[in-house]
Structures are given as C-alpha cells and as structure tokens.
C-alpha cells in the first residue's frame, strides 16, 4: 500500500516533491483518483494526493475568467458557473461512468492533466484551448507559473498547454486559470434515424459544413441507441445534431438545418431537457459504460471513422461516433476468443494508420492489460525521443507518475 501524502498548500506540494526528488522516491500524482484506471499502472511507494488543494480563488464572470486550486472538484466549479449562466465551453467528460466509480468526482486539475473535452470539442476545442494559466511544481522540485488570466497572451512558451494531457508526468499542477463562456440560452437536437455509419457521417459532415453552427454531431448504431432512454422512441440507428444559442437563433437554424439534410430521412426533435440529458450520456460514453470490456477512444479525421470500423469487421465490438465521425468509442468483447488478447490494439491502430492517422487510447482495461499493451498511442521514434527529452527536462529523476504514459518514461 502506498503512503499517501496530502499537502494542503502549493508550498506543501513543493516541499513534498523537493524531498521526493532528492530521495529519488517515485510519486503517484493524483487528484481524486477518478481517472486512475487510465494509462499504464503506476507503482510508487508514495502517493501525492492533490485533492486537499481546494477553492475557487478568482471568478469574474464579466471578464470570463475563473481560477481555482487544482484539487477543486469540477462539480463545484460547474455549479458555480451555472449560477452565473456560464460554463466550461469544452464540455469536459466524466470518466466516472465507464469506470464504475463516483461520477462528478473529478478535479479541475485533472481536467487539464487529462485534457478533457466533450461533444462540443469539434466547435469549441478541449481543455487545452481554454486554459489561460497554471502554477505547478516540476519533478525537479521547483515551482513555476505560466500564462496568466487574459485570453490574448503570447508571453513566453505556453507551458499551460504543455501540461494539458500530461497525466501528471511533467509537473504537479497546483493552480489553474480557465476561460469561461456564457451558457447557451437554449438548445435543441435534431435526430435522423436509420442511417448506416457511412451515410450518417456524410450527413454530419454536410451539417457541420453548413452555416447552421452545429455544436455537436454524433451517430449511434442501433445497439448503442437502444441503450439510451432518451432515444427510447427511435428504432434503429440515431444520428443526432445539436444546435445551441439564443432562442430565435436556434429556431432559425433548426429550419435551415432541416433544409441542409432534407434527403437524409425522417426527423425527430428533442427539447432542451432531453437534449441535455442525451449529450451528457454521449459525452460520458454511456452506451458502452456497462461492464468491464476494454474500451477504446479513437480519434481520426471525421470521414475516416467508418473506414476504421470497416477495417475492424473481424473483431467482436460495439461502437458509436461523436465529433461528426472523428471520435469513435469502441468496446471490445474480451471473452470472444477471437485472438483479441491485446484487446484489438494491433488491429485498431493499424486501421487508424491506414485511414490517415490519428490515435487510439485504451481508456478502460484491466491493470494487466494496461501493463501489457501501450494504452496511449505509440509515437514515431523521433517524436518519442523528443517527448522523452521534454519529460527529462521537467522531471530528470523520473519521480512523477513514472511509466504512466510510456514504459520507462
């Protein structure tokens, strides 16, 4: 059992890491551990728990900016923003559902460390696109800051983005500042039923390429759609397109959208409440949440989504698409006995490479599986070497989450 060190201040984090760096004691760095099941298993004598660093330190709605200590629960921040009709526009997903752990439990630091996003990713970007500033402690045991509290800022390297998606391997984040944005006044979702994958992606790309300003586009094959209560009335596959904004604008664009996709089939509509609930389910991969089957998150160019799936026809899998086809959630049956001891890793990554490139991340799998295959997309040698040099420059003794992203890294 790892000894948990739980500092309550950034100064305490600094002391802890400075000590660990000197003693060369590896630390498992975590917030509230809701994403501990992602990445290679970390075995460390000590755990650096950042969840006691809590509290919103600055929130100025007029200035569209919020700062918080890294361990502040995301749920607390979202509730505060909601009171002011604002939100984190990148719609950070909650991994709790697919891991069968607490939902709403993640921290704002974890949002950045995992570079979270959601269905609005295709319009609004991910955490990396909204982070304005950070303070953190490197594996050298030195505190540093980067960025600021303003949107327009090119003063020095953007280390805030550098920490996005670094999974605690470069530095322990102590403070973050995010851009926040107004919540849409209303939303509506248009559903098209009965499309196959290819046709659905064509329809979604056409909608995205129109001036209707679609804020989310997902396609659920019949099996996935059938698992969502919001879609209970639909039979067969469902393709969902979301519109958000001011009331008159949403009404206007909804009609324009129907004209754009007129040939696609019959429409249904979801009101605000059902729309919100549906996109939350899609965001958190609810259609594939049940069970413990290895789960992949695959990112490719939108039109390549169906190509990847076509190349995987020999696997026993379930799937659905978000991001207009560019994000595939893919669950591999682990008891199929069809040669998928690697949870399909080799086949899936080959299909991604053959479809123009992207990445496949194993976001759910047993510890043994995550140790046996690289959960994160392996990189070309020159790129891997550069990443390693970056790691070494932040954490020369390799004490922060050693091996979580790559073996030996």
């Amino acid at each position: 059992m790892s000894t948990i060190l739980k500092p309550e201040t950034a100064g305490g984090v600094l002391e802890t890491i400075a000590w660990a760096a000197g003693e060369e004691k590896p630390l498992e760095v975590r917030g509230r551990g809701t994403k501990a099941g992602i990445g290679r298993p970390v075995q460390a004598e000590y755990t650096l728990d950042l969840s006691a660093l809590t509290g919103v330190t600055l929130y100025e709605p007029d200035e569209l900016v919020l700062s918080a200590r890294a361990g502040t629960p995301l749920a607390e921040i979202e509730a505060l923003l909601l009171e002011n009709n604002q939100q984190l526009d990148f719609e950070p997903m909650d991994y709790g559902l697919i891991h069968g752990t607490e939902t709403g439990g993640g921290t704002i630091g974890g949002v950045l460390a995992a570079n979270l996003s959601g269905p609005r990713r295709l319009k609004a970007g991910a955490a990396r696109d909204h982070i304005l500033g950070v303070a953190a402690v490197s594996g050298r045991g030195e505190m540093f800051k980067s960025g600021g509290r303003v949107v327009k800022n090119v003063t020095g390297y953007d280390l805030s983005k550098g920490l996005a998606g670094s999974w605690g391997t470069l530095a322990a984040i102590t403070d973050v500042t995010f851009k926040v944005l107004p919540r849409a006044e209303t939303a509506a979702t248009v559903l098209v039923t009965g499309l196959d994958d290819r046709k659905a992606v064509d329809v979604m790309c056409a909608a995205m390429g129109s001036s209707c300003e679609i804020s989310a586009a997902a396609h659920l094959p019949a099996d996935a759609a059938g698992r969502l209560p919001e879609l209970a009335s639909a039979s067969g596959s469902v393709t969902a397109l979301r519109l958000e904004g001011f009331g008159p604008s949403v009404a206007y664009r909804k009609e324009a959208l129907k004209a754009v996709i007129a040939g696609a089939g019959s429409f249904e509509e979801l009101d605000v409440g059902a729309s919100e609930s549906l996109w939350r389910a899609i965001r958190d991969a609810a259609p594939l949440a049940e069970g413990a089957a290895p789960l992949w998150r695959v990112s490719v160019a939108p039109t390549a989504g169906p190509d990847v799936m076509a190349a995987l026809s020999s696997l026993s899998i379930r799937h659905f698409y978000d991001w207009s086809g560019g994000l595939i959630w893919l669950a591999v049956r682990d008891d199929a006995g069809d040669g998928t001891e690697d949870a399909g890793a080799e086949l899936i990554r080959a299909a991604v490479a053959a479809s123009g490139g992207g990445h496949a991340t194993l976001v759910r799998g047993s510890a043994a599986l995550r140790a046996a295959i690289p959960p994160f997309q392996p990189q070309e040698p020159a790129l891997a070497a550069l990443s390693k040099r970056l790691k070494d420059n932040f954490d020369p003794n390799g004490i922060l989450n050693p091996g979580r992203m790559v073996a030996g890294g």
Binding site: T3, I4, L5, K6, G12, W19, A21, G22, D62, E63, L122, D129, E142, F144, S146, G148, R149, V150, K152, N153, V154, T155, G156, D158, L159, K161, G162, A164, G165, P182, A184, C205, M208, G209, S211, F246, P248, S249, Y252, S299, V300, A301, W323, G326, L327, G356, G357, H359, Q379, A382, L383, L386, S387, R389, K391, N393, F394, P396, N397, M405
Partner: protein, 498 residues
C-alpha cells in the same frame, strides 16, 4: 532596448562564411542561397524596423528535405539559424544574427490540399494568412485568425507567433485553429504533430510550438481548421462620452451572454487620426468609439443587434449607428483597420505596443497612460481589442530628433509594466522577440524562465535556433539540467499522511 545586446557572434563561424555558403549551395541549388550584401539587404530587418542586422548568409529552401539538410548541417557545425516567414514581426522575431544563417520559408507557398468534408486545409508555411481564406471562400469557408498584417504575413509565422486578430474573441487564436504541423528539429529530424483529427495523444508539443517564436523548430507544413462563413455580418458603431462608459458597455454585452465576432475600441486621438485618413463617418466629439460586429445566421444577428443597441443606450452612448449594408460595414472597419497607417500620417514614426489587461482595468490604464504621455512629452493613441483586453497604444515620436526613440521605448516599457501590474501580460499577439525580451522578468521569476528554457533544451540543446529572442539571459542546458537537491527526512510534519 536601443542598446540591444545579442549573443556574442561566433568568430569561427564568421571566418567560415564562404565555406558555409558553398556547403549550403550543395543543399539548395540555384538561387536559393544569397550571400551578396545587395541580395541580403531585404532580410536585414522585419516589422520592427528600429533594428537591423545583416545575416551571415540567406538560404531559401524549397523542400522539407532541404530544410532538414540545412538544419542538420548547421547543427553539426554549430551555426546559428534564424527562421523567417514574411518578415512582418513587430517584435523583431526574425531579426538576423551576424553569425547566423537566415532560413527563409517564402518558397513554401503552396496550398497542398483543401478537404471540405473534414473542414481542414493543408498548406505550406509561406502561404499568406489571407490566401488561405481566398482559396476556400468560393466554397463558403474562411480561416478565422485575421491579424491585421494578414495580406502579407505567413501561416508559418502565424504559428510561430500564435497570431490573433479581431476575430479571436469568438473564434480563438492560431493555437485554437491549427490541427497539425510537419516540422524539422535543429538536428534535421522531421516530425509530425497532430493532423486532420482533433485530439492528439502525448504531450501537447503542438501547443508548445505555437507561439514559440522560431526557437523550437522550423514548421514546413500546417493543417488548419477552416470554418463555414457566417451567413451574414453586421456592425454597430457606438460613441461614448467616456472610456468608462465604453468599458461598461463591453462588460454588459458579455454579461448578457453575447460573444461578438469582433469588438474593437479606439480612443479620441485614434478616432481623429482614422477619421481624417479614411472618412469612415466616425463621430469626432466622443472619448471612446466601439465597433461591435455580430456575425452568424440572419435570424441571430437581427436579434442580437437589437440587444446590443439596447445595452449601448443604457450605457450613455451618444451615437449608435448600425451598418445598413455590406459597404457600410466595411467602411466602419476601414477606419479601425487603417488606424496604424492613419497614426503614421500624423507623426514621422510611431511605436506600437501590445499589452493585454483584464478589461475592467482599461480606464485605470488609459488614465495612467495619459500621465505617462505628459511625463515623456510624447503623444499616444490607443486602439484596443476590447473583447479580449489586448491594448495597442501607439506612441508617436520622431526618430530624427535625438533621444525621442529612447524616450518612446522607455514610455512603452512603462506601459507594459503597468499592464503586468494590473494583472495583464507583456504581449497579447506580437510576441516577445527582441523587443520585450528584457522585460520578461517583470512577469516571470527566475524559476519560471528557467523552466521555459528547459523546454527549449528538449528541442534545441545547443541554443542554435533563433538565440537572443524571448529570453533575457541564456542559460546553458547543462547548467539548467543540474539538480539542486537537499536530501533528508520527509520535511513536512504538517502534512497529513495516511
């Protein structure tokens, strides 16, 4: 800054100039290597014209392979390299070094692919910003970042500087609109970051590259996001008796949940200069002028226009005009877009600053700037990206009057220190370059700057790419890598342990 200190030239490299030119000709044949002073003259400066330096030699490669071989050669021979796009940097980012090869990307000027279904364009770095939009607009698309130099500045340069523009409040900066790059490291290694897909795994090297001012690598291909053109756009011109009223109006617009496509402010001197030059119909009897542009579907724009007019009226607006057609909308913008040359007409020289501040600090910063203007006895006109707090004070001076340039620079430095003091930053979109290099300690402490330089060390351990820019003090990577540790007991009795 006038007595700018650049890295000591390497005498051995200076002595090998002819040999180096010959070696580069072996890599880039034909006219791609320039070593005659007349030919190199156009490269001796960029948009920050106060500084000039002839490079050692200019090389203009045409292929990624050539870039790779040039960089590998320079790396192996310890020769410094200054990358250059169109040379429009306002911070001296492309200022040559006496002992440095100037690597120009101007021949990388092709649009390689437009993929409308996936809404991306793949372009070479020498393609101009505006050319991306021109290429795709026939199909109803555009490229959102629009720095005011967009007719000339290159996409590669935009990546290096993380360029912004008037649209970035709603549509983001370059960093938010670039999906991938092919780049060459100083070792000659060619790597790809990202692509047509949205998320990239691993460290966000693309995020680090964007805005790295040519210090980390040379970009040879860029994949950008293109957006569907808005159905319509209309602008509102609003005059206010005070900058406080204008500032409150901006806050109320955003408070109402409206994110305009563009929201620009000018102060009285800037309004007068622009109006005298362009005759856009700006009111002369106001202290602040706001241009608010709303873009999107017709139904939305009409609705929001009414809301903005109401908010403006509630904030003591003295004039409110809504553009009635596209010509009038363009006219509203013509004054703002011509603000820099307009100021150039009323003064022999001007010095453009680029701080960003929390918006609510605007009245305080403007008041203090007026005081500084009196102190330094130099006029100043202000244009302001009001939505995102990016302030461009234009300091008017005459370089032919001894001491005025130095006074203008001291004035500018004081303004930037003020920006930092009120919670802002030194540069919003023009970059640090050589211009603000020595002000970096105003914003960052020693540890902050060292950690930034360690990123540099991961990419370019020998400090060969664009040295002398961004960092006031260059530390050797070996020194930066050293650990200073104190071994001992767990030093925190106050930390709960479980």
């Amino acid at each position: 800054m006038s007595g700018l200190a650049m890295p000591e030239p390497n005498a051995a490299v200076l002595g090998r100039r002819a040999e180096i030119a010959t070696a580069l000709r072996g890599i880039v044949p034909g006219e791609g290597v320039i070593d005659h002073p007349d030919g190199m003259r156009p490269f001796e400066s960029d948009g920050l014209t106060a500084y000039r330096q002839m490079p050692l030699v200019v090389v203009l490669p045409e292929t990624t392979e050539q870039v790779s071989r040039v960089l590998r050669y320079c790396h192996d021979n310890d020769i410094r390299v200054v990358p250059r796009g169109s040379g429009t940097s306002l911070s001296g980012g492309a200022l040559p070094l006496e002992d440095g090869v100037l690597l120009g990307l101007s021949k990388f000027n092709r649009v390689l692919e437009v993929d409308y279904e996936n809404r991306v364009a793949v372009v070479q770095p020498g393609v101009t910003n505006l050319n991306v939009t021109n290429t795709v607009q026939g199909n109803g698309f555009y490229y959102a970042p629009d720095p005011s130099s967009q007719i000339a500045c290159s996409i590669g340069g935009n990546v290096a500087e993380n360029a912004g523009g008037v649209h970035c409040l709603k549509y983001g900066l370059t960093a938010n609109n670039v999906l991938g790059v092919e780049m060459v490291l100083i070792t000659g290694e060619i790597i790809r970051l990202g692509g047509k897909h949205l998320d990239s795994e691993g460290y966000d090297l693309l995020g680090l590259m964007t805005g790295s001012e040519g210090l980390l690598g040379v970009v040879t291909e860029v994949t950008v996001r293109i957006l569907q053109s808005p159905e319509t756009a209309r602008a509102v011109l609003v005059g206010f008796p005070t900058s406080e009223d204008a500032g409150q109006c901006v806050a109320d617009i955003i408070g109402a949940g409206i994110i305009p496509g563009g929201m620009e402010m000018m102060d009285r001197p800037a309004i007068h200069a622009a109006e005298d030059y362009v005759h856009a119909g700006y009111p002369r009897d106001v202290e602040a002028l706001l241009i608010v542009e709303l873009d999107g579907p017709q139904g939305e724009v009409d609705d929001l226009l009414a809301r903005v007019e109401k908010i403006a009226g509630d904030n003591n607006a003295s004039t409110i005009r809504v553009s009635q057609d596209e010509t009038e909308r363009q006219l509203f913008w013509a004054g703002r877009k011509a603000a820099f040359p307009a100021v150039g007409r009323i003064s022999p020289d001007y010095y453009c600053m680029d701080g960003t501040i929390p918006r609510k600090q605007l009245p305080r910063v403007l008041a203090r700037t007026r005081e500084l203007s009196e102190k330094y006895d130099l006029r100043v006109a202000n244009v302001f990206h009001a939505g995102d707090g990016n302030l461009h004070p234009l300091i008017l001076y005459d370089a032919n009057i001894p001491g005025e340039l130095e006074r203008a620079e001291a004035f500018g430095a004081d303004i930037l220190k003020l920006c930092v003091e009120v919670g802002g930053v030194l540069t919003g979109e023009h970059g640090v370059g050589v211009e603000k290099r020595d002000l970096m300690p105003e914003m960052f402490n020693e540890d902050d700057l060292k950690q930034q330089q360690r990123v540099k060390c991961a990419f370019d351990e020998k400090h060969l790419l664009n040295p002398g820019k961004m960092f006031p003090v260059l530390h050797r990577c070996a020194e930066l890598g050293r650990m200073h540790v104190h071994k001992g007991q767990l030093p925190f009795p106050d930390i709960p342990r479980f």
